[in-house]
């Protein structure tokens, strides 16, 4: 059995004054050590779920388990949870607090009351890892959106969380920045952090993730390997998520090609190219 790092059990939540519940009995487990993507249309409750992930919101019904133990909503325990579970918001403006880049990265570390020298050293290392060393003393309002996103991610990663939750991290980013971000996420994953990214972009989710969850209207519809999700084409279409472009392209190929090149749908353009090349050589 897969060991769940973070598990949501039968969550119910409605915002005070909202038009009805956002989460309606959602149960979902995040497998440890995997690159996960949470798919769902806008307004299906992804952001609300994430706020439950590190205890900012307490569920009105149901439980959140961290490595099998229910979350405690006491102040000190929550403080510890914010260190284990890093949360990157969709709008970086919502989590950047200090005046300059270096100061903002130091914020999470200062909250842990570390000695000043240790903080400076960690801030320098993270600035270096994210290629932001020259920006250290630049005020935050001078940064572009892409840079603000990177800074928000750096500010969370400096705490070395075990689980990283990202809310629509690729929204409004151009192709180049999206590629960079995915590369950074891969590096973070390789260093041992489990990553869960909420998105509605099927192409990115399918290319990048090892584990897919699909939610709709506050409930979990599917959780499993990306290939399993693709096998349930009707489900994806009924939720208007559509198929990834690469899968549609694969479907359009002559059936005998597909048979000969192996039935598995390729995840990325690179994989498709190599398999077609091998197939062409074999003919």
């Amino acid at each position: 059995m897969t060991s769940w790092l973070l598990e949501f059990v039968d969550l119910h939540y409605a915002y005070p004054g909202g038009r009805g519940p956002v989460l309606k009995g959602l149960s979902l487990g995040i497998p440890e050590g995997k690159k996960c993507a949470l798919l769902g249309r806008n307004g299906c409750g992804k952001s609300t779920l994430f706020l439950h992930g590190n205890g900012i919101i307490q569920p009105q019904q149901g439980q959140v388990l961290w490595r099998g133990t229910p979350l405690s909503y006491k102040r000190a325990a929550l403080q510890e949870m914010t260190q284990k579970v890093g949360l990157v918001f969709q709008d970086p403006e919502h989590q950047l607090i200090a005046g300059t880049v270096a100061e903002d990265i130091s914020y999470g570390l200062c909250n842990r009351n570390l000695p000043a020298d240790v903080i400076r050293e960690k801030v320098r290392a993270v600035l270096d890892a994210f290629g932001m060393t020259e920006l250290a003393d630049v005020p935050i309002h001078h940064l572009s959106l892409g840079q603000k996103r990177r800074l928000a991610l750096a500010g969370v990663m400096v705490l070395a969380p075990e689980l990283l939750l990202l809310d629509e991290p690729t929204a409004y980013l151009d192709r180049y920045q999206t590629k960079n971000l995915l590369r950074e996420l891969d590096a973070i994953h390789q260093n041992g952090t489990t990553v869960l990214m909420a998105t509605h972009d099927m192409d990115i989710a399918f290319e990048w993730a090892e584990w897919l969850c699909v939610m709709d209207e506050g409930r979990l519809i599917f959780a499993g390997e990306p290939q399993e999700a693709l096998a349930r084409k009707e489900m994806l279409e009924s939720l208007h998520l559509g198929l990834p472009l690469i899968a549609e392209l694969w479907e359009a190929l002559p059936p005998e090609w597909r048979r000969e090149a192996g039935e598995r749908i390729p995840c990325s353009l690179e994989e498709l190219k190599t398999r077609l090349a091998v197939h062409a050589a074999a003919r």
């Binding site: 919502h94 989590q95 607090i97 005046g99 309002h141």
Partner: protein, 263 residues
């Protein structure tokens, strides 16, 4: 976006490397001198601060003068109240006047003593503004906050200042976006239309500020907000013997000047 420009300048000025404590101390000493001294001293402070800002810190002269013009416009607005006096023409006491007009049964006049007072006030204002400009253009706000923290100002005050500083730019950004959106959708037609759109913008700004506030408080909780907002900067400052010598010698000279001109 004057605010943004001011902020960029303070981050890029050539005196950025000097310790902020020293710059604030110099400005503080000079403000005390300007407020207690005479006109000659105040004129000297204006010139000297002008040299620091435009020559040493390399702030464009145009922007330095613009700052003075903008700030002095408030002084000019206050002038009528300082200069003009009125009395019934038949009951007017004899004083030395610079100009006088008869308006009905009243005599409106500018007494010579008021002109002297305005002269004194003008130079005091100029000198204080020059010191303020020096701080504004050469010390970034984040560093002022650090000095305030070192001075053991209560954390609640520095936290509030820091959040206000962040919000100024967030709100400026939102209002700029809304303003552009209104124009792009055919708003700002005529004076009445302009007023209506401006009031709409103010209302929207309030709603969005509240939403931002809610989101930011969640963001702070997610980053483990403790009891106070603490941050550390990587920026290191280095002392400069040349600037230290000039500021100490300058201050001593100014005190001598004040003593010599009969302080």
């Amino acid at each position: 976006m004057i605010g943004q420009q001011l902020d960029s300048l303070s981050y890029q000025n050539r005196l950025r490397f000097l310790p902020p404590e020293h710059k604030l101390l110099l400005a503080g000493v000079l403000i005390v001198l300007a407020l207690t001294g005479h006109e000659w001293l105040q004129m000297a402070i204006c010139v000297w601060m002008g040299v620091w800002v435009t020559v040493y810190a390399r702030i464009p002269v145009r922007i330095f003068c613009g700052f003075f013009i903008l700030s002095l416009s408030f002084f000019v607005l206050g002038l009528p109240a300082l200069l003009l006096e009125a009395a019934r023409a038949d009951a007017a006491t004899v004083v030395q006047t610079v100009a006088a007009w008869k308006v009905g049964p009243y005599l409106v006049y500018i007494p010579a003593s008021a002109v002297d007072k305005v002269w004194v006030l003008f130079w005091r204002t100029m000198a204080s503004l020059a010191c303020f400009a020096f701080v504004l253009f050469t010390v970034p706000f984040a560093e002022i906050l650090q000095v305030l923290r070192k001075l053991k100002l209560p954390a609640i005050v520095t936290d509030l200042l820091m959040i206000m500083y962040r919000f100024i730019f967030v709100l400026l950004g939102i209002s700029h976006q809304l303003w552009i959106a209104q124009r792009a959708r055919g708003g700002h037609r005529g004076f009445r239309g302009m007023l209506r759109d401006a009031s709409g913008l103010a209302a929207q700004l309030f709603v969005r500020a509240m939403r931002k506030y809610d989101a930011l408080s969640k963001g702070m909780a997610a980053r483990g907000f403790g009891e106070s907002l603490q941050v550390l900067s990587l920026h290191t400052h280095s002392r400069s013997r040349r600037y230290e010598a000039e500021s100490i010698a300058g201050c001593l000279l100014l005190i001598l000047l004040e003593w010599w001109t009969g302080g």
